[in-house]
Symmetry: C3
Subunit: 282 residues, 3 copies
């Protein structure tokens, strides 16, 4: 059986636009958190793409116009996550972000909706990001849980937005809308929401027509000059898990869940604004 | 006696907005030059912050709406400056900028008014910069004195504005207003003057609420990927002092002082434009 | 004989605006490709500038308002190109771009018109770039020839536009107009076409007045923090020549020439859009 016959993802959809252009659509209602099944799906996809010499470009979009990826599923059982098949020695999530950042295929995020925490880290691990001007909210809110970003944001933002704006994004933990994300370089460009899909599809179709080996070589040089050594990323993960294993953080997460975290409601729509007050309610 | 009881600064004011949020206001009339007393004040503040495990954020603003920090006081007696207490082996000014760039607390410049030379270097050594859209003039004018920037601008600008714009800022020695400074990444954002104070205060209050240790860890990773090794900065300082020790530069400084440098008048308001012609008047 | 008496360029003009400010105007009708003679001219100019201790700034503009530099002349005889005098062990074109990026004089591109492929690489090797808002089209189209950029674009773009936008420029191979090039940092600034010349001339006159040694020292520090080691660039060149030596690429170039490449006509005006379809017409 080929990969396409075999692949049966639970929380994303794979659309073969052409042999050289694939589309992945995140789809984990109610708000597209990154949970166990989505990680399993992503890891299987990454394994295929690591061996596939045909696919030139993969677009990642969302089935939910309000939530691109809300964040990591805080209810995931860590042992199950770590038991998922992996291709590196890294923790489950870093295994995904590091591998994503090293694929031969060009990875393009088409961001519409809320994209916080691990969602932001996932798009930062892709090669480029296009965002809806009206409907984007990008944020790294980990510091509200007393933690650094565990999947590499502090390693990837500096080469996109520079030192001062990286400080602001990670220490401010606020939402960045499309216009500000573009101004800072957090995304390549913000496009009017009505134009985003056609823009990204046209761009991806164009890239899908190039020679596969040429794409690999172009990316190799850029990666050589812009990627940190892989070994940096486990350090982030270790620091993150050390911080959130503190019982006080566990209590914060409990309070957040009671107030509607991971549900399609006001807390998640406005999480960056509200998380601070809830976290500091001791 | 605690630091707060003991600290009696001459050319700046320290306001304790809360135990975790301090505000430093530069105040050295007539135009906020960085002189001996302000350096003494800054060094005492840095020493405290290097040991303080409570303060999460320090905002630096100015008591003078026209001059944030005009520049280094060209009349400072070097021997006295070097005799000030220091925590590094570096020259007096580099001791300040390097230590500023390494604090645990988040350092935020709220820039309103003229910020040239060492003033620009000081804000570049902070973690982030917000500026008045209408009232900001940022510049590095050292090349008019035949010199490189002595306090690290050429080491810090590249990670904010990239190679080409660093070249333009340091070789053009022109004023950058708020809009252009934002476009280049010289500041994080330029805000309408009427909104600047509230924006920065709100941001700082938010950051002041996070866990101290989490802030330290976030900054540690960002610093690891965006700071040059400390040892680079003495090289800048040596090159600066070698250049300005030339008698021709001394004569230029004399001419500038005769024409109103360090006074609240037309030369200082428009120094970047006028310094070239005066420097080249031989 | 002095250099100025001896220098008799074929495809560019040298104007001595002052002893410290030179202007180079590309002039190789019909569309300013970089051919054998222009490379010979540039190498002679670089040799002079490498030894000249007076010239502080060199502006590079174009005699053709529509084409700044169309691209490399695809009909150049490689053996003749490599036989041109060179100052490095690198291939003919890399010899030019690496040396351009290391001059004592400040190099300023005044971009008006189409600037693709090696044209874009040449301006990326300069210290800064100012562009006509209305008349600029910057692009790296090499991937349409199954190739990486041979003259260093993938090494120089990251420090200007960051990782994500470098990916987009090199993998999308599309035209960037002045506004988008400014937004990304591909150029320092885009100026209204009517203001470009005066802006650049004024800036260059200003820089031309500084102390030569101070310029050298400022550039030395910036270069130290923003230039890749020279040894990276031959790798790009090797990968480029390996790719284009493929007979399939030769056939593509033949088709492009038949359809009007290197002529002043619709294909060259719109090369970035059209090259993909022609390249993929097998």
């Amino acid at each position: 059986m080929t990969f396409l016959e075999e692949f049966n993802p639970k929380h994303l959809t794979l659309t073969v636009e052409s042999p050289t252009f694939w589309r992945v659509t995140f789809n984990n209602p109610p708000i597209n958190v990154i949970g166990l099944e989505m990680m399993r799906d992503l890891k299987a996809l990454l394994t295929e793409l690591e061996n596939n010499k045909t696919v030139n470009v993969v677009v990642f979009d969302s089935a939910d116009p309000d939530f691109y990826i809300a964040h990591y599923d805080v209810t995931v059982d860590n042992e199950l996550a770590e038991a998922l098949p992996k291709a590196t020695d890294y923790t489950a999530w870093v295994d995904i972000t590091v591998r994503m950042s090293k694929l031969d295929a060009v990875t393009v995020a088409a961001i519409r909706g809320i994209t916080r925490g691990a969602g932001s880290e996932l798009v930062l691990a892709m090669d480029m990001r296009f965002a809806s001007l009206e409907k984007t909210k990008l944020a790294q809110v980990e510091i509200a849980l007393n933690a650094v970003t565990g999947g590499g944001a502090s390693g990837r933002l500096p080469s996109l937005v520079g030192r001062g704006r990286t400080m602001e994004i990670l220490l401010g933990a606020e939402d960045f809308d499309g216009a500000l994300a573009e101004k800072y370089g957090y995304v390549n460009r913000a496009l009017p929401d009505a134009e985003l899909d056609e823009f990204v599809s046209r761009f991806a179709r164009r890239v899908s027509g190039w020679d596969h080996q040429a794409i690999v070589e172009v990316k190799e040089f850029i990666n050589k000059y812009t990627r940190l050594p892989d070994g940096e990323y486990p350090l982030h993960s270790d620091a993150y898990w050390a911080a959130v294993s503190n019982p006080e953080v566990g209590a914060t997460v409990e309070r957040l869940l009671e107030k509607g975290m991971q549900e399609r409601g006001p807390l998640e729509y406005d999480l960056a604004t509200k998380i601070g007050a809830i976290a500091q309610q001791r």
